[in-house]
């Protein structure tokens, strides 16, 4: 029974990830809303990974990230590469401890988000892909972190209550 539950959770990661990727393609308004757009996929991957690392295999993260690269017209492989690397760092960090506190989680995620974004922007700069202005990058990081923290708090409140 436990095994069946585990399989279901493992399968739900790529499924919900795909739904998230496709649903964010909904054509709503064409007006740029850069300042208030967090990376929901980043939050989804790392919230899931930190809570249930055994149910988020490398293949699932690879699948979800590559699908996002293809459907969101991102440079192919670039953000998948950084996400895979970051996910392995997180896996290694949480395997070393029995349980991580919320503060530790936020510190890890902040560091990872900042480093992956810098890495991506640097590689874009090197390969002559149009990259973002600094203030846009800062907004992106701040809003993604805000959404991450709010979602994490909501999850905690729901599960505790």
């Amino acid at each position: 029974m436990l095994n069946c539950k585990s399989v279901l959770i493992t399968a739900s990661f790529p499924l919900f990830g795909s739904v998230l990727i496709i649903s964010s393609l909904t054509p709503t308004s064409l007006v740029p809303i850069l300042q208030i757009s967090p990376d929901a996929l980043f939050c989804f991957i790392f919230i899931f990974l930190i809570r249930r690392p055994q149910n988020v295999p490398l293949v699932s993260i690879l699948f979800v990230s590559l699908l996002a690269d293809f459907l969101w017209h991102r440079p192919l492989g670039l953000s998948t590469m950084t996400t895979i690397l970051a996910s392995e760092v997180v896996r290694w960090a949480i395997s070393a401890k029995e349980r991580i506190s919320m503060l530790e989680e936020f510190i890890y995620v902040t560091l990872i988000l900042v480093l992956t974004t810098i890495c991506q922007e640097f590689l874009k700069f090197l390969t002559l892909i149009p990259s973002l202005e600094l203030n846009h990058v800062i907004y992106y990081i701040l809003f993604t972190l805000l959404v991450y923290i709010l979602t994490t708090l909501c999850i905690r409140v729901i599960f505790i209550s």
């Binding site: 739904v19 990727i21 496709i22 649903s23 964010s24 393609l25 909904t26 054509p27 709503t28 308004s29 064409l30 007006v31 740029p32 809303i33 850069l34 757009s37 490398l58 690879l62 996002a68 293809f70 459907l71 969101w72 017209h73 991102r74 440079p75 192919l76 492989g77 670039l78 998948t80 590469m81 895979i84 690397l85 392995e88 590689l123 390969t127 002559l128 149009p130 973002l132 202005e133 846009h136 992106y140």
Partner: protein, 282 residues
């Protein structure tokens, strides 16, 4: 699981991780070098996935519509007042337009003017957004089967919206004017100054590379110049506005917030671009 099995499993995992990383580096390099082939593959994938997942997008689109309708109802009184004022102005404009139309027809006959009949268009529905705030692009439900070609201009009813950058069989991607990779050669009417409208991921793209920016005033109309032979000349883009720091920006004529359909323009004897997305990279 025994210790040896555990060790073997870890080694296999590590090997798979390194293999994945190397494959991704290879994929990125390949995308950068052989962009065209991978972009074609991307469009084939989108052609397969998006039309079949439309049922996922529809409820979200309807919910968004409900929310925006609700917002619109809340501002009903103000909108009504604005529309009344606008209508008064429009009646005046209509009269002027009718007179000008008659005058134009008369002069055209007198001068034996032959208008360019080669511009054609096909209208498509927006089926998907870019999904990322860093790419200002949309996906249309028309592709090479409908005659869409790379580089074609796309218009709403009011003004230029963007250009085609990537065509699949049943879908095509429109890079919006607001995208950071978009730069369009334009001419500022009245001042007769040529320049470039450059997207910066904000609702108001920047007007740059002008010969003499001192002659430019807010409110002047900006149209395509036709330089570079990507866009036909005289397509309306918008009017000039100044931002807080005095920088020249363009307020787009196309109402990006309300667009659901786009018109793709192409000439019958159009010279299409060979490389998909080459405009972005260069």
């Amino acid at each position: 699981m025994s210790l040896e099995q555990n060790k073997a499993w870890k080694a296999v995992r590590r090997f798979f991780f390194i293999l994945t990383l190397l494959s991704l580096i290879f994929l990125f390099a390949l995308w950068k070098v052989e962009n065209q082939r991978l972009e074609r593959f991307r469009y084939a994938l989108i052609d397969e996935i998006l039309p079949n997942t439309n049922f996922l997008l529809k409820p979200l689109k309807i919910s968004y519509q409900i929310v925006s309708d609700f917002k619109s109802y809340a501002q009903l009184y103000q909108q009504n007042q604005d529309l009344k004022k606008e209508l008064q102005k429009m009646i005046g404009w209509k009269e002027s337009a009718l007179q000008l139309e008659q005058k134009n027809a008369h002069l055209s006959i007198l001068n034996n003017v032959k208008l360019d009949p080669t511009i054609n268009w096909v209208t498509g529905q927006i089926i998907a957004d870019s999904g990322s705030p860093f790419n200002q692009s949309v996906l249309l439900n028309i592709g090479s089967n409908d005659g869409v070609r790379d580089g074609s201009a796309t218009m709403s009813g009011l003004g230029l919206v963007g250009r085609i950058a990537g065509v699949g069989r049943k879908s095509s991607r429109v890079v919006l004017i607001t995208d950071v990779s978009s730069s369009i050669p334009v001419i500022v009417k009245k001042a007769n100054q040529k320049g470039l409208v450059i997207g910066d991921n904000s609702p108001y793209p920047t007007l740059n590379f002008l010969g003499n920016s001192r002659t430019i005033m807010p409110g002047m109309r900006v149209v395509t110049s036709g330089d570079g032979k990507v866009f036909p000349p005289e397509l309306l883009i918008g009017t000039i506005v100044l931002n807080n720091s005095g920088k020249l920006k363009v307020s787009l004529a196309a109402k990006l917030k309300e667009i659901s359909y786009l018109r793709v323009l192409f000439k019958n004897n159009d010279q299409s671009l060979d490389n998909s997305g080459i405009l972005i990279l260069e």
